[in-house]
């Protein structure tokens, strides 16, 4: 196959699929075993300095904020992050100094709430390096290739753009059509964090609503931490096996963390906590404010339960549940400014 053009971005998260197969055979248990542990153990076991890390969900939708906070609390450093529509998850990791490199598809913004002050500061001052650029589809197709144990996914995106020039993709002459096509290299993250609605103690997991990229990401990552709103009996999983989107083979840790997505949106469970988001966005405008935020909400608490008390406890959580059902008044404190 003739290579027509090579993207100049840093080549991250890659390994030869042959090596990955051997790694899997050596390191992944194929037997259905209990994997329940607490967050402290899961993060210290499976997240290491310098790891390539990918967060499931969609930036501030069904993200494992509880695991993100624990990574921050354990002061992990020099992480390389997949910016796969990464919003609040990545912004917190950058603001707290855990991340040194990102390959964004969509990062450093909070969608309708505007750009994220902390991440922008980090990128614009050079503290965090943008190692490569992708589009949303191309970055997740890296996981699709990895999930299939293949070296790349072919696609008709990135072609003709600077996004391609800053990616680590290649353009080749397709031997079937004779036309140029983009080959998007596989990416095998060292660790992925995925928050789900429910799973059993072995890690057989169900997600309600959109899967985003998690169907692929769960299979691409070498290590997978599942945080879950609740742990349910294995018999419940077996009653409706078509609802399982992640089977136990891929899962390394199961952690039960109700409201583990707060302040983000857990579909069908609870809506965004916009008051908290406004406080975060406001404080992270400055370095001092950023320290104040993390001192208060992360370093200042022992665990996620204490954090939930601090953000308003059961009263706030009930309100967020009602919002998700459209039964309470929406508030957007950041609109007024």
């Amino acid at each position: 196959m003739e290579v027509l053009e090579v993207g100049g971005g840093e080549f991250l998260g890659w390994c030869d699929p042959e090596e990955h197969r051997e790694w899997v055979r050596k390191n992944k248990s194929l037997s259905m075993e209990e994997k329940v542990m607490d967050l402290r153990e899961a993060v210290s076991k499976f997240v290491h300095d310098g790891n390539y890390i990918a967060s499931g969900g969609f930036g501030h939708v069904r993200v494992s904020m509880a695991a993100i906070y624990e990574i921050i609390r354990q002061r992990k450093r020099n992480l390389i992050a997949a910016g796969k529509t990464s919003v609040h998850d990545l912004d917190c990791l950058i603001a707290s100094g855990c991340v040194s490199k990102v390959e964004p598809a969509y990062s450093f913004g909070h969608e309708l709430r505007g750009l994220s002050p902390a991440s922008r500061r980090a990128v614009e001052t050079g503290r965090v390096k943008v190692a490569a650029e992708w589009s949303n589809a191309s970055l997740q197709w890296r996981f699709k290739a990895a999930a299939s144990g293949l070296p790349w996914t072919p696609a008709y995106v990135l072609l003709g753009t600077d996004t391609f020039k800053h990616s680590s993709a290649k353009i080749v002459k397709d031997p079937f059509t004779g036309r140029p096509i983009c080959l998007i290299p596989a990416c095998f993250p060292d660790v992925a964090l995925i928050h789900v609605h429910r799973c059993d103690k072995y890690g057989n997991a169900q997600i309600d609503g959109i899967l985003v990229e998690d169907f692929e990401l769960a299979r691409a990552a070498k290590r997978l931490i599942i945080t879950t709103e609740e742990i349910i009996p294995n018999e419940k999983i077996r009653e409706k096996p078509w609802l399982t989107s992640i089977p136990y083979f891929y899962v390394d840790a199961v952690v039960e963390v109700p409201y583990g997505c707060h302040p983000c949106n857990m579909p069908y469970c609870y809506y965004y906590d916009e008051e908290h988001m406004a406080e975060y966005l406001n404080l992270t405008r400055t370095e001092e404010g950023t320290r104040e935020y993390f001192d208060k909400y992360i370093y200042g608490v022992d665990d996620f339960d204490q954090y939930l008390e601090l953000i308003g406890g059961i009263k706030k959580l009930n309100y967020l549940k009602k919002l998700e059902q459209g039964r309470a008044q929406f508030v957007y404190p950041w609109v007024a400014k």
Binding site: G57, F58, G59, H60, V61, G83, T85, P104, A105, Y106, S107, F108, E111, L112, L115, S119, R120, V123, E124, G126, V130, E133, W134, S135, N136, A137, S138, Q140, W141, A155, Y156, V157, L158, L159, G160, T161, D162, T163, H166, I171, R179, P180, C182, D208, G209, I210, L211, V212, E213, F215, E216, N265, P267, Y271, Y272, G326, F330, V331, Y332, V335
Partner: protein, 246 residues
């Protein structure tokens, strides 16, 4: 005005794929006025939601699959477009050039940017694969530029035949650009051409707010004023002014 003008471009019984903010609102407006059977699809997997209780803040939040026909995935949705099912892409932009190429990545050099924007998101995917791309953005000399700081999403690249040459699917690309001043299309040279000016906007205003020459045809229409109904529906779709404040 921008949102109303953009919404009118969407034909009923087609698919539209939208980015965050004004594009979502324009698609929802179309669906609630002249295009009730417009299928709004979001890149994270939400397909054809029914009018959610509030506007989505993200193209992946629970409002994007509220009473939807399918809660799928990104691989599913973008593959669907790649296979030819994507009629309209609806995008925002920080910069655009005369061929409709857009930048949502950086202002200044890439390794030490003056301003870092979020990057492509789904824009490159939509702009590469949908049949007709509509760009919705504010217009001034800094945004309508001769040369982009970064080409995030392909427009007509360097002109006629350029998209096909690099391997993008044929007969795709930017179709309309809507700003606070007017509506633009692309002529046979694939260069931006004025189609209509909004009420109380002159052709000079259009040129004055662009760093590249915009083609002006002999006959330029005036965009019809928003109707009472359009404005009423628009306010009801964004009752908290989340998008309309901008």
């Amino acid at each position: 005005m921008m949102i109303v003008a953009a919404s009118r471009l969407l034909e009923d019984r087609k698919t539209v794929f939208t980015g965050t903010g004004m594009p979502i609102l324009a698609a929802l407006l179309a669906q609630n006025t002249h295009a009730p059977n417009l299928a709004i699809i979001y890149e994270a997997g939400g397909m054809c939601p029914v009018r959610p209780p509030t506007i989505p803040l993200s193209v992946g939040d629970s409002m994007t699959f509220h009473k939807a026909i399918m809660a799928s995935s990104m691989d599913y949705v973008i593959s669907f477009i790649q296979a030819g099912y994507g009629e309209y892409a609806f995008l925002g932009a920080a910069q655009i050039d005369m061929y409709g190429n857009i930048n949502t990545t950086v202002i200044g050099p890439h390794d030490r940017p003056k301003v870092r924007f979020p990057g492509s998101g789904g824009a490159n995917d939509f702009g590469s694969l949908c049949w007709k791309t509509i760009v919705l953005m504010r217009q001034d000399k800094q945004r309508f530029v001769k040369k982009l700081d970064f080409l995030t999403t392909p427009g007509h690249l360097s002109g006629v035949g350029a998209r096909e040459k690099v391997g993008l699917p044929r007969n795709t690309g930017p179709w309309r650009v809507v700003t606070q001043l007017g509506v633009y299309g692309f002529d046979e040279d694939k260069r931006m051409t004025l189609l209509s000016v909004h009420p109380n906007v002159s052709i000079e205003d259009v040129q004055k707010n662009s760093s590249f020459p915009i083609k002006i045809p002999d006959k330029v229409e005036t965009t019809p004023e928003p109707t009472e109904k359009e404005l009423k529906v628009l306010r009801s779709l964004d009752p908290y002014n989340v998008v309309l404040r901008k």
